[in-house]
Symmetry: C2
Subunit: 480 residues, 2 copies
Amino acid sequence: MATAPILIRSEGSTLRDRVVAEIIRLIESGAYQPGDRVPSVRKLSHDWGVSLTTVLEAYRALENQGWIEARPQSGFYVRVRLVKPVAEPAISRPPCEPHGVAVSDLISQMLQGVGDPEVVQLGAAVPNPELLPTRRLHQIMASIVRRQGSLVQRYDFPPGCRPLRVQIAQRLVASGCAITPEEIVTTVGCMEALHLALSATCRPGDTVAIESPIFYGVLQAIEHLGLRALEIPAHPRTGLSLEALRLALDEMPVHAVLTISNFNNPLGCTVPGVRKRDLVELLAAREIPLIEDDLYGNLHHGETRPHTCKAFDRHGLVLLCSSFSKELAPGHRVGWIAPGRFQRRVESIKIATTCATPALPQYALAEFLASGGYDHHLRRARRAYRQSLALMAQAVAEHFPEGTCVTQPEGGFVLWAEMPEGVDALALTRAAKCERISVAPGPLFSARGMYGNCVRLSAAEWSPRVERAVARLGELAHQH
Amino acid sequence: MATAPILIRSEGSTLRDRVVAEIIRLIESGAYQPGDRVPSVRKLSHDWGVSLTTVLEAYRALENQGWIEARPQSGFYVRVRLVKPVAEPAISRPPCEPHGVAVSDLISQMLQGVGDPEVVQLGAAVPNPELLPTRRLHQIMASIVRRQGSLVQRYDFPPGCRPLRVQIAQRLVASGCAITPEEIVTTVGCMEALHLALSATCRPGDTVAIESPIFYGVLQAIEHLGLRALEIPAHPRTGLSLEALRLALDEMPVHAVLTISNFNNPLGCTVPGVRKRDLVELLAAREIPLIEDDLYGNLHHGETRPHTCKAFDRHGLVLLCSSFSKELAPGHRVGWIAPGRFQRRVESIKIATTCATPALPQYALAEFLASGGYDHHLRRARRAYRQSLALMAQAVAEHFPEGTCVTQPEGGFVLWAEMPEGVDALALTRAAKCERISVAPGPLFSARGMYGNCVRLSAAEWSPRVERAVARLGELAHQH
């Protein structure tokens, strides 16, 4: 029994993973439609020359991910998608007035349960561990340690590990940028990059315009730095409203604008290319720095990677921030910033806050990126997240109260659900916590505690356990 | 030829290192006095049952470290110490008035050459790589990765790695403290700990009282946070002048006090135990937080570890900061803070700035600390630093202009040299840079750019190359 050629062409994945990937490819191509029976375990084992166990494991994985379902005494079938249409939320409508921020306590509460295996984690946006190349990174790390033991014996002062900056510069071409390694500073995750960008462009009391809703970490950084947040409406497809932003800029001083431009957290929206250019030009005309968070940019579900605003930056006014936490390894805490004309200030604040970025993880990621396994890895992650987001959106449509609207992100792995007026997301969050389900309540994502009827759900994983948790959340939402 | 029992009793060090350690023990005990001939290579090889190569390597190491010297056709001799008495600097006299800070540019200039193997590094206080347990840490890391690969797949949110906090709590007993693991938060090095402590206790515009001179990183953090520095006189033996501090507190609002209490950087001074208690009580009576940097506390040259101020803290007002950068691995960036009553605020600012501390280095250090090799390792480092500091002080006395005063630290590995009035340390630094010698000029250590005739020298390593650099610095100092 010879293994089929298709299954041995790709390095770095197990046979089981290859079987999973190929079956998904067949389903996506329409070769097997919803309701179709997929080949029996015995047949596929024979046809593709892999063991029964491998096929069975692959089918279990496909079942867990929601692609197929087992029917008793009959075999495995492509799962029928619910066709219940799901409405998208409308554009947000925050009042146009700067506001102080105080979200820290809510955030601390939410993060308490993270890491507890008993809790179904729909709260924090932690990537699916099965989609991280952990083993390969460990091999690389072990090898670096043998070859270059002295790396950890010194401080890797800003701008940080050059081989990593070289890789980042090369990768940035795909997002429309021509940024040299010298124009990049490595950081302790994207969060430090954002903190440095805000510190370098604003002083206490200044106003930062942000999309609303926005990732709570941004709000917390604004709170910590004593800044004020000006929430700008955001559309669930096209992001930041340029029209609203322009009006706001005409009316009040704004010292920086911060946008999560691609596959925004929590909305999933992406500012279209031409609007990115308009945004950059609008701000350049007023000499206002634009802080761009592109954390999810590589996790596009479609074929092409969207550009960044930085691609349109001619004046060094865009500070582009990102990290490898969502794609490779959250625990390594490796991020970066391309700070444009603020580079010197960013480096000096970096020295005054964390001094240097840990050396070993940077060198390990650099080697992983250079080794060429990255693109393959990303393709796999994108496919999985697209699927789990679709299944979670369907589950929300099925189980949440009538009238619930859900975003349809084209990248990343978070979902924003707007429940009918009157549903109390904070109460729902507390009730869910008692049942060991964590969610991120809407008010976390607003300086004013808006979005009291919304929740953000992380769709990083899909499994029968997650499906049950979403169903249970829906029941609880009916009660709150 | 059987190896002598004394040479095999200690785990984790090479035979060469054991020979070095035993010879140093004999010299320190007086068994071999300065000027005495130590056993010939051949004799020691026979007596202790080790190869000629090992003895020769050990003697070369001892020679590099300045313990012995080779005399042509005669053998190795215990090096004769110069007996030129070295005066200590007097207590510093900064004006009693808060001052803005702007040291970032100077610091960036100094850090440029760090890591360049062509440069003799007397500037940044980087520990001697040979005194770091790098290989052991790497073994542990490789083993953790095999056993607990999932560590890096998630965020290790504050307070951070519990096994490490357990070890820190146990170690803190030696500095007079009873702090539970729950009262500790891990950080990205001591620098982040200090930044968090300043952020948690002060708001922009507030005044922080500090010793003068003080580690430039503290000044840079104060600059970055928009605070004002009030420089308090410090004695080169007993540190912060309580008398001057008390006067200052009576005259103006001070929002926090920051002290490097043990083996201060750059002075090497240690606040005596009873004055630590007085300091803590003085501030407690006025509800002023005390930020204590104990980075060098474990590198005492004498037998006992000095207490921390935190040991006398009854009101949760002391924020104790430290790291493992000077003792174990600067590149891993693992530090910690015991923030007393400010813990919640510290954790929330930590989430808003770096979100989490990298996981793997924390777990590796925890395992190293638990494994028991730490004390042995520290003893070795202390011995080496005591020796290299003594030799550097002598070299300064020998080569620097008449009237130069030098500190006599009882721990750590930095030296502060006060040259005669008129010597321009900044010009000296520039001239030295041209000759590939880096030093830290005095004005880096003051908010007002005082200490224009002082330099800080890192004595982390001693070798003929370092000796030549110090001699050359002395020549340059005569010219500037």
